[in-house]
């Protein structure tokens, strides 16, 4: 069970949250000029790292706000929690 520190509410149990998958995927500005391959890369392709993953979480059964988490996908350790729009911090596992 993860203990996730919501930047607005503090540490809460995993059951209060929903994971929104990989963070920092920006919709391409020039979508009308993208090739199928570029569009599919944006829509479907994912980093899925074995190690530190930058991902979005929603405190669905709490403050209902979105934020970002840097979490290790092998140890499940949470290295950093930061707000939407902020740049991903560099973490050294």
């Amino acid at each position: 069970m993860l203990l996730i520190p919501c930047p607005y509410c503090g540490p809460r149990e995993e059951v209060e949250f929903a994971c929104g998958g990989e963070a920092h995927i920006a919709r391409p500005a020039n979508s009308d000029r993208l090739s199928d391959a570029q569009w599919s890369d944006y829509l479907f392709m994912r980093k899925n790292p074995k190690g530190v993953h930058y991902e979005r979480w929603n405190h669905a059964r709490g403050c209902r706000r979105w934020f970002n988490v840097a979490r290790d996908t092998v140890t499940h350790r949470i290295y950093a929690v930061y707000k939407m729009g902020e740049a991903p911090p560099s973490v050294t596992p």
Binding site: M1, E14, S40, M45, P49
Partner: protein, 417 residues
């Protein structure tokens, strides 16, 4: 030449206190070069190697495994086998696999304990019932057995299901695939390993692939924890680690790795003679020949490579089980575990070529690839041998995510098995 397993060999070996059985497969040193290297000795990788030898006469093959064979999802799954998929592409692929299952114990000379005990999928509301009847009809149009049952028929077929009408999730009907069922997961890995080894294929365990050697867009071999191994072609079948291996070749996949958990109860006398699944309350359960109830549900919601999951998922699963079967409420749980499944956006596999010549990927089976083990190996062997997909897997390319022709099986595969 290996001796055949039979009632006579069993009796003969019993006379020698079972001390003289042949080893089931060798543990050879890797050769410098193979025609084909398969990465991953799960059921799919071993089946691929077996069919490369059997169907295509390619025997200079190695299967490389970072741990022990069958130690991944093959040895962790809940063993449900069925072919009642909605879309034509999947129906044909999984039905091909089911047909192979039906003769597989004889073909491999290994008792896979394949048991066509039927698979009951429940509907709990009017919408689900209508959707289920649409599926049953679509599946029958593809020539696959499937029938719709009323709640009275469900009650008669599986009397321990709580079919009372006043429940929060009443059972309104079900679909039944009588040819569906279960098989012994370990035996599948062992049977394919033994049969592949008998045809001269090298199975090399404790050998982790750490990179690919490529020149002018073509694969030349793999870097491993036991040194470089040259290969004309490389087929990668590593389930939850697909993205990691793709990254080594500079490729991106539409896959995310998630834990999927399963658990078993203490063994009890035969009480459940079929597989029961419910997508609405979300559980599926069968009883193993040892008497344990084997059950599972959905994936944990976040990416993970940890082969373990979170406790709330188990709690939800058990709530669902007790909703359907109040009779199970006092059973003790014995073991719980997780495997890492390769989840694809359309809940369908990717089986085919990659932009690197001679490099093939077979992944994305997610929560439901055990049932496909023989079929997956069969079409992947064809794809590697002929350097083009078989008719059965040509819809399951990586390119489908570019041109948008997805095979959306979420309703059939994304939830239950």
């Amino acid at each position: 030449m290996k001796s055949r397993y039979s009632i006579f060999s069993l009796a003969r070996n019993a006379l020698h206190y079972h001390r003289d059985w042949d080893q089931a497969w060798r543990s050879p040193e890797p050769k410098a070069q193979y025609d084909v290297v398969i990465v991953g000795a799960g059921g799919h990788g071993l089946a691929t190697a077996y069919y490369l030898a059997k169907e295509h006469g390619i025997t200079n093959v190695a299967v490389l495994e970072k741990g022990w064979l069958g130690g991944g999802n093959t040895g962790r799954n809940t063993t449900v086998v069925r072919s009642n998929y909605l879309w034509d592409e999947s129906a044909h692929l999984y039905e091909h696999s089911l047909k192979l299952w039906e003769g597989l114990s004889q073909d491999l000379n290994f008792n896979l304990m394949f048991s066509q005990r039927g698979l009951l999928a429940l509907a709990h509301n009017q919408h689900e019932l209508r959707e289920l009847s649409r599926r049953v009809n679509a599946i029958r149009l593809n020539g696959i057995d499937s029938e719709l049952m009323t709640v009275e028929q469900v009650k008669a077929f599986c009397p321990i299901l709580d079919c009372s009408p006043g429940k929060r999730h009443p059972i309104l009907g079900a679909s039944l695939q009588r040819r569906g069922g279960t098989a012994r997961h370990d035996a599948v890995a062992w049977g394919f390993a033994r049969a592949a080894d008998a045809r001269g294929i090298d199975i090399i365990q404790n050998c982790e692939v750490t990179g690919f050697r490529m020149a002018s867009g073509r694969v030349e071999g793999v870097e491993t924890s036991r040194g470089f191994i040259g290969a004309g072609k490389v087929g990668v079948v590593v389930a939850g680690h697909a993205s990691v291996l793709a990254g080594m070749a500079g490729l991106r996949l539409p896959i995310e790795s998630h834990p999927l958990q399963a658990l078993v109860t203490e063994p009890v006398k035969p009480v459940l003679h079929t597989v029961v699944m419910s997508s609405a309350v979300h559980v599926y359960v069968s009883q193993s020949d040892k008497g344990e109830l084997v059950m599972g549900a959905g994936i944990d919601g976040y990416n993970s490579y940890a082969q373990r999951g979170s406790e709330p998922v188990v709690e939800n699963l058990l709530n669902a089980l007790i909703e359907l079967f109040p009779i199970f409420s006092r059973l003790k749980l014995m073991r719980q575990w997780g495997g890492i499944v390769d989840v694809c956006p359309d809940a369908s596999p990717i089986i085919g070529k990659t932009p690197v010549a001679g490099l093939y990927f077979n992944c994305g089976w997610g929560t439901g690839g055990f049932k496909a083990t023989p079929g997956s190996g069969w079409v992947f062997a064809h794809t590697i041998a002929q350097d083009r997909p078989h008719r059965l897997n040509e819809a399951f390319t990586l390119e489908r995510f570019g041109h948008g022709y997805l095979v959306d099986e979420h309703g059939a595969a994304g939830v239950a098995h």
